[in-house]
Structures are given as structure tokens and as C-alpha cells.
């Protein structure tokens, strides 16, 4: 009988030791990996994650990877779920700049993007400024000379780059918020706002259809399909390239175990480099412009640094 007790105690102790503490990279993942997306299903960011998932799963030996949409609170509700999750690698999430970085700089939130365990960048892209064909302003110069220009935005925190660039370009804007970027674009097509400024992939279809008129690209070089549209660099504001852009990143809660982090970093990098995925992403015009984990980390720090000087502009619009 005594033997049985000892046996049992040893068994329980071993079980305890093999528990979460002894989680090794080989044993990972032990259960489905959840990627939290801080938006409703269907938007641009959500689509990116769903595109990638099958390939990420393949890199993790067929592990089950699922999306969990936690929308609301200007992306903060979902972010906090990721940030406060158990750092065992089973809960990861999608992060988005500038919105989440801007909220951190303005203050009043309990997270620090600098502490997130970064796994890589999915994509980044510059914005494009597009005029409504029904607006009374027909060019960038006319916008700059006007007394009041109505700018259609989705929400203020996401539009912060646009607000900063408008200040730099001396356009006297009145931002008008909409439920989402699509509603704002539609308002511009109707002529109810003078111009909008959104990521290139978001605007490309309506620009191609001639529903809106491109005026300015926020990138270093001219775009292949909009060769005659000048860049912000040509106008003498190269610093704005890094401010007026959007970024999609994958990360996990702070202080994840090193071994698991390495395994995930590798899987994410390999998945994003998968030729099949890239071809598919290009076809639906959501290109993968990836970077590995260390680059993503320095990216985020650079973004936080580049917005910091504009704290006053941010507070003016957000508080």
C-alpha cells in the first residue's frame, strides 16, 4: 500500500514538472494557436491573416491555427487580450501601425509596443492621396490655397499620418470621420468630401476605375501603375514617407520563452517567404512585404520614435 502511495506521489510530481514550466520548443504547440485580430472579420488586416494561416500552419507541422476576431475600442480591446495572454506562444495577434502606436504616444493606455514579442512584419505600404472628381479643387496646389478642405477619414487615430502630412503640406483640413475607410471612399466618390488618403491597396480599385483621382504618393519611388503621379519625396518631404504608411505585424505577449519565440519567428518567416502564398497575395493585390522578427522590432521602435515629436498634433485630434 505504502509503495502505491509513493508511486502516486512520484507520478504526480513528475506530471507537475512536465507541466507548463517544462514546455520546450519540441513540444510546442500543444494546442491550437490562436491569432487574435483586433477587427471584425472581413477587413484588410483580417484578410491578410486568413491568407497566411494555412502556410503558417504548414510551417508548424500542421498545427491548428485559428483566427479570433476581437473588434472594438479602436483596436485596443483586442490588443489588450494579446498583451495579457499567457506568454506560451499559443496566443498571438495581429498588430497595426500607426493606430496602436499613436494611442500609446497619446497616453492613457496600459501597453507598451516596445515590450511585445515581435515575430515579423506581414506587410507595409504607403498611402496615396486621392481627390474627389466632384470636388471644386482639382490639384494639390488648389488644396493648399483653399481656406477649408474636407478630408474623409475612417477614424482619427488611423488617420494620424494624414493629419500630420496635411499640416506639413499646409492644407487647411477639416477631418470628417466615417464608420470605415469604405464609407469615406464612397463619400469622396459622391463628392461629399474633397479628398481621402488611404493605403495604396485600399484605393487602387477605385483609382483604376476612375472614380477618384490620384494626386500624390507617399513612397520613395513612383508606382509602376501610376507613373505620372509625383511622390512626397519629390515634393521635398522625405521624412513623411515613414509617417504616412500602414504596417501589419505579427507578435505575441511580452516575455515569451526564447525557444518558442525562435520557433515561431522561423515559422512566420518561412511562411511569409512561401512562393505560393506570395503569388496568391499578389494576385489579390495584397502583397506580402515582409521583414523578419529583429527588423520588425526595430521597425516598431522607429515608428514610435517618428510619431513622438508630433504628440501635440495627436493630442489635439484625439483628446
Amino acid at each position: 500500500m505504502k509503495k502505491l502511495y509513493v508511486c502516486l506521489i512520484v507520478f504526480v510530481l513528475t506530471l507537475g514538472l512536465c507541466g507548463p514550466g517544462a514546455l520546450t520548443a519540441e513540444a510546442f504547440p500543444q494546442k491550437p494557436i490562436t491569432i487574435i485580430v483586433p477587427f471584425s472579420p472581413g477587413g484588410g488586416a483580417d484578410t491578410y491573416v486568413r491568407l497566411i494561416i494555412p502556410y503558417l500552419s504548414r510551417q508548424l507541422d500542421g498545427a491548428n491555427v485559428i483566427v479570433k476576431n476581437i473588434p472594438g475600442g479602436d483596436m485596443i480591446t483586442g490588443l489588450m487580450k494579446i498583451y495579457r495572454a499567457r506568454p506560451d506562444g499559443h496566443t498571438l495577434g495581429l498588430f497595426m501601425t500607426p493606430g496602436q502606436a499613436v494611442r500609446q504616444i497619446v497616453g492613457g493606455v496600459n501597453y507598451d509596443l516596445g515590450k511585445v514579442t515581435w515575430l515579423g512584419r506581414i506587410s507595409t505600404m504607403g498611402y496615396i492621396m486621392a481627390l474627389s472628381p466632384k470636388s471644386k479643387f482639382k490639384s494639390l496646389e488648389e488644396l493648399q490655397n483653399a481656406d477649408k478642405v474636407i478630408l474623409g477619414v475612417a477614424n482619427i487615430s488611423g488617420a494620424i499620418g494624414t493629419l500630420i502630412s496635411s499640416e506639413k503640406l499646409k492644407i487647411k483640413i477639416t477631418p470628417l470621420a466615417h464608420r470605415g475607410s469604405r464609407e469615406a471612399i464612397l463619400a469622396a466618390i459622391r463628392g461629399d468630401v474633397d479628398f481621402v488618403q488611404f493605403p495604396i491597396t485600399t484605393l487602387r480599385p477605385v483609382l483604376k476605375a476612375g472614380d477618384l483621382k490620384p494626386v500624390l504618393v507617399f513612397s520613395k519611388n513612383r508606382l509602376a501603375d501610376f507613373q505620372n503621379i509625383p511622390t512626397i519625396d519629390e515634393l521635398g518631404h522625405p521624412t513623411l514617407i515613414d509617417i504616412v504608411k500602414i504596417g501589419y505585424y505579427l507578435g505575441g505577449p511580452p516575455s515569451m520563452p526564447l525557444e518558442i519565440t525562435r520557433k515561431l519567428e522561423k515559422a512566420v518567416e518561412a511562411a511569409l517567404k512561401d512562393k505560393e502564398l506570395r503569388a496568391k497575395a499578389d494576385k489579390v493585390k495584397r502583397p506580402i512585404i515582409e521583414s523578419n522578427a529583429p527588423e520588425a522590432r526595430s521597425d516598431i521602435h522607429a515608428i514610435l520614435d517618428s510619431y513622438a515629436p508630433f504628440k501635440e498634433v495627436l493630442v489635439k485630434y484625439l483628446k
Partner: protein, 496 residues
């Protein structure tokens, strides 16, 4: 065009096509029946399933599921007073009173028929409207959104039972609740007490589930009787229900037209559609006394609008690539994963896919209605189950539904609070309906009002033809009852 239509229909005739349609429809039914869950959730769940399918097959299973949701949501709206979403809220107004009178079969029969025919109407309009959809979408802007929301709010005056003051107080309270959260235009937080959850305000669906389902289950539990109470269940009701749609074809047709038009306008959504359809039915009816107490015309109008709106909502999705609703946004994402970019290109290059979409929508609606009709008698018996069994099940499902919508505990809390609140609102004789209408439409109204002021100034409301027409209609809506009672004899009396 005809060739594309044929090409779009062929996949639906294959075995795998039919199987996927059935599978999608059943999934859609399941999600539609569960409170809080609906189109967006079932579509998001099905997306991974479609990875290995061709674009046609993916469209079939997704649209099949989407098409089955509205009527399934109406089943619970009628039987247990639980609208799955705001879009079927108006179905409860007359549907549930019918259930309480033992006439659930009648309501289900009418609902299934109006749903299927409404969906066919919406899809037909979609097919015809694609060439001119653009003009329709462009004609509606902020002032029109505002006027439509106000029109919906004016329903409060019509649905008030008992004291009109209590209705107004309920409506006013609903409007106040709708101001919680970030200001839709300036982003300033209002009454959030530093809580991130409240940034989004009181979300309509948890509030709806609470006000209707939870409050109802508390009521059932306390009264200790089944939903239909002592009433006998009328077995013949189902056929009468089907017949009632044809007897009131004008009601059905007007409901469908309203549903389709509202569906087309992005940003207003299905919530307004069913209220407006309901309101105009009361307006145009000669005998208004039965509404809110179990008038079948109320069910027909709300159901026709609720299902016709999906065809309408596909117009902006297809024409501009701009979704008319959250469901459409998820569908758009799914199509993108299959290499299809909705918008003008899709219309030119892959017209066959669009036809698959239209045909599937119609077939799924017919399928779900047939399933509904066949099982209506059995479903109607649910209203006879003793409350001790039904009440806890409704309670549990509601809370689970509220949580699984966005995976947020805050939603569960809101559902619970509104449940208890809703119970007392009803007991004290205030109007739940007025409160819900105001909560649902308040946000659209304040948002579009502010947008109009910034973009066009106050004159924007009155210089645009559609907005002005809607404004005049609202005035007529609200003053007509008084003008009617104001007879010539009274006028003479006043003159003396």
C-alpha cells in the same frame, strides 16, 4: 449575359454543388437560430472550409449559409421573442404575440413564405439593378441617411401601446443610451468612465438579446407557464400563414421594395429596413388596432423587408466592392481569398460568379423556407413546453450567444443588465420596442447629422430632392393621424 447566367447556374446542378448548398443552408440555420450569432460569424467559420474549393463552390456554401440566416433568426423571434439581430427585431412585434395566442404556425407559415418571396424579389432587383446600381448608391448621402433614421424613429409614435408618454420616455431613454461611447465623428469619449469596452457604446445586439430573450425567460420563469400558455395550438395555422401572404400581397410587395432599397444604401443597413417596412404597413392599413398584438401583416412586412435587403446589399458589394453590411464585408474577404476582387473588374470578367451568387441566394432562401414550413408544426409545439425547461435554455443560449459574438465578457454583462432592465420595463408598462428602435437608430442619426453639418451645412437637409422628400414624408407620417381626427365639424367649432 445569358451565357454567363447559364455558366453561373451549372455549378448548382452538380452533386457537390447541391451538397454544399444544403450544408451551407443548415449551418446558416443553426447560426441564425442561436441568439447573437448570425451571418458574419457563420461566414468567418466557413472561410477555412472553402480553402480547398473552387470559387464557384466557395460562393455556394458561403451564400447558402448567409441566405439561411434571416429566416432562421425569425423562427426564434416568433417563437421565443428573441431576434438574432436588429434586422429581425420588428418580426417580434407581431410574431411573438401570435405565438402567445397559440398561432405560432400561422406566423411561421407567413414568415417562411414572405422570406422566400422577399429574397427572390431582392435577388431579381439585384440582377436588374446592376447596370444602374451605381446611380442609386450615389443618390444617398448623409442627409438621406439622417432622414431615413428619423423616419425609423418616427415608428415609435406608431407602435406605442398604452400611454404615449411612456413610449416617448422609453424612446428618449434609448436615444440617451445611444450616445454612450466615442463620438462617431470627433472621437471624443462620452460616459465611458475610462472603460475601453464602453468606447464602442452599448452594442445593439447584446442589448437586444437582453431586452428580449433574457427578459422573456425571466418572465416565463416567474409566470411558470409555457409561451402559448393555456391557448390551444392551431395545427392548420401553417397553411393559413402561407395563404395570408398572398391575401396581403400589397403589404408583402411594399415590404420587399423598402427592404431592397434600404439594403442597397451602404451605411444604413437592415436595421432600418424592417422598422420602416413595419411602419408603412401600419400607416397604410385601414384597421390599425391589431398591430403589436398579433397582426399577421406586421410579420409579413418585416419578413419581406428583412430578406429582400440581402439582394439589395449585394449591389454595392458587387458594383463598387464596398460592402453594404458586415456580412458582406466578410463575404468580400472570403472572395478575395479565392482570388476574386469584387468591384467593377469582377462585373466585367466574372459575371458567372455573380450569377452563381444570385442563384444561390434564391435557392438557399427557398430551401430554408421549405425546411421551416415542413418543421413548422413541430417548432410550434416548442411554445407548449413548460417554462421550467424552456426558460433556462433560453437564458443559457442567450448568454453563450452574447459571448461568442465578439469573445468579450463585457457583452455578456450588457446582455444580463438589459435582461433585468427589460423585465422591469415591460412590467411597468414602458415600451421595449420604442427603446430598442431609439438605441439602434440613435447612432446613425447623430453620426449622419454631424456629417451633414460638416460637409454641407444645415441647408444640406433641404436642398437635396430625396432628403427633402423624406423630410416631407416624415411630417406627413407624424401629422396625418391628427389631421384625420380633426374633422370639419371640429374646425367649425374652432372658428366659432
Amino acid at each position: 449575359m445569358l451565357a454567363s447566367a447559364l455558366e453561373g447556374f451549372m455549378p448548382l446542378l452538380s452533386w457537390s454543388g447541391l451538397l454544399l448548398l444544403l450544408l451551407g443552408t443548415l449551418m446558416g440555420m443553426l447560426f441564425g437560430i442561436l441568439p447573437g450569432l448570425g451571418g458574419p460569424q457563420v461566414l468567418a467559420l466557413l472561410i477555412p472550409v472553402t480553402y480547398g474549393l473552387s470559387p464557384h463552390m466557395a460562393t455556394i456554401i458561403l451564400i447558402g449559409a448567409m441566405g439561411a440566416v434571416p429566416f432562421s433568426g425569425s423562427i426564434t423571434a416568433i417563437l421565443i421573442n428573441t431576434p438574432g439581430t436588429g434586422a429581425s427585431a420588428a418580426t417580434t412585434f407581431d410574431g411573438f404575440p401570435l405565438s402567445r395566442q397559440g398561432k405560432a404556425g400561422l406566423a411561421l407559415g407567413a414568415s417562411a413564405t414572405a422570406s422566400a418571396l422577399g429574397a427572390i424579389f431582392g435577388a431579381a432587383v439585384l440582377a436588374l439593378l446592376i447596370p444602374v446600381g451605381r446611380q442609386v448608391i450615389m443618390a444617398f448621402s448623409y442627409p438621406e441617411f439622417f432622414m431615413l433614421a428619423i423616419m425609423g424613429l418616427s415608428v415609435i409614435a406608431l407602435v406605442s401601446q398604452g400611454s404615449p408618454w411612456k413610449s416617448l420616455i422609453s424612446g428618449g431613454f434609448g436615444l440617451m443610451l445611444s450616445t454612450i461611447g466615442s463620438d462617431p465623428i470627433t472621437g471624443l469619449s462620452r460616459f465611458t468612465f475610462g472603460n475601453f469596452y464602453l468606447w464602442d457604446g452599448i452594442k445593439p445586439v447584446p442589448a437586444l438579446i437582453g431586452m428580449f430573450a433574457i427578459a422573456e425567460s425571466i418572465d416565463l420563469f416567474i409566470k411558470k407557464e409555457s409561451i402559448a400558455g393555456q391557448h390551444k395550438i392551431l395545427i392548420s395555422g401553417v397553411w393559413d400563414g402561407i395563404r395570408s401572404v398572398f391575401q396581403n400581397f400589397g403589404v408583402f410587395l411594399r415590404g420587399s421594395i423598402i427592404g431592397t432599397v434600404i439594403g442597397i444604401i451602404p451605411g444604413v443597413g437592415g436595421v432600418v429596413a424592417n422598422f420602416l417596412a413595419y411602419a408603412q404597413t401600419i400607416q397604410t392599413a385601414k384597421d390599425k388596432s391589431g398591430f403589436g398584438k398579433g397582426d399577421i401583416r406586421g410579420v409579413i412586412a418585416a419578413e419581406a423587408a428583412n430578406n429582400a435587403k440581402d439582394g439589395g446589399a449585394l449591389v454595392p458589394t458587387v458594383v463598387f466592392g464596398i460592402p453594404g453590411s458586415l456580412e458582406m464585408a466578410v463575404l468580400l474577404g472570403a472572395l478575395i481569398l479565392h482570388g476574386l476582387e469584387p468591384g467593377p473588374d469582377l462585373l466585367l470578367d466574372r459575371l458567372d460568379i455573380i450569377f452563381t451568387l444570385i442563384f444561390t441566394l434564391v435557392l438557399a432562401n427557398i430551401l430554408v423556407s421549405v425546411i421551416g414550413l415542413v418543421s413548422a408544426r413541430q417548432l410550434a409545439r416548442l411554445t407548449k413546453i413548460p417554462s421550467a425547461y424552456v426558460a433556462p435554455v433560453i437564458f443559457c443560449l442567450s448568454l453563450i450567444g452574447a459571448y461568442s459574438m465578439n469573445n468579450l465578457f463585457g457583452d455578456v454583462l450588457v446582455t444580463l443588465c438589459f435582461g433585468i432592465f427589460g423585465y422591469f420595463v415591460k412590467r411597468l408598462g414602458y415600451s421595449k420596442i420604442a427603446l430598442v428602435i431609439a438605441l439602434l437608430l440613435g447612432k446613425i442619426a447623430q453620426e449622419s447629422f454631424h456629417q451633414t453639418l460638416v460637409s454641407m451645412g444645415i441647408k444640406g437637409f433641404f436642398v437635396r430632392p430625396i432628403s427633402l422628400c423624406l423630410f416631407i414624408l416624415i411630417l406627413v407620417f407624424l401629422t396625418l393621424p391628427y389631421l384625420k381626427t380633426f374633422s370639419p365639424r371640429q374646425a367649425k367649432g374652432l372658428l366659432k
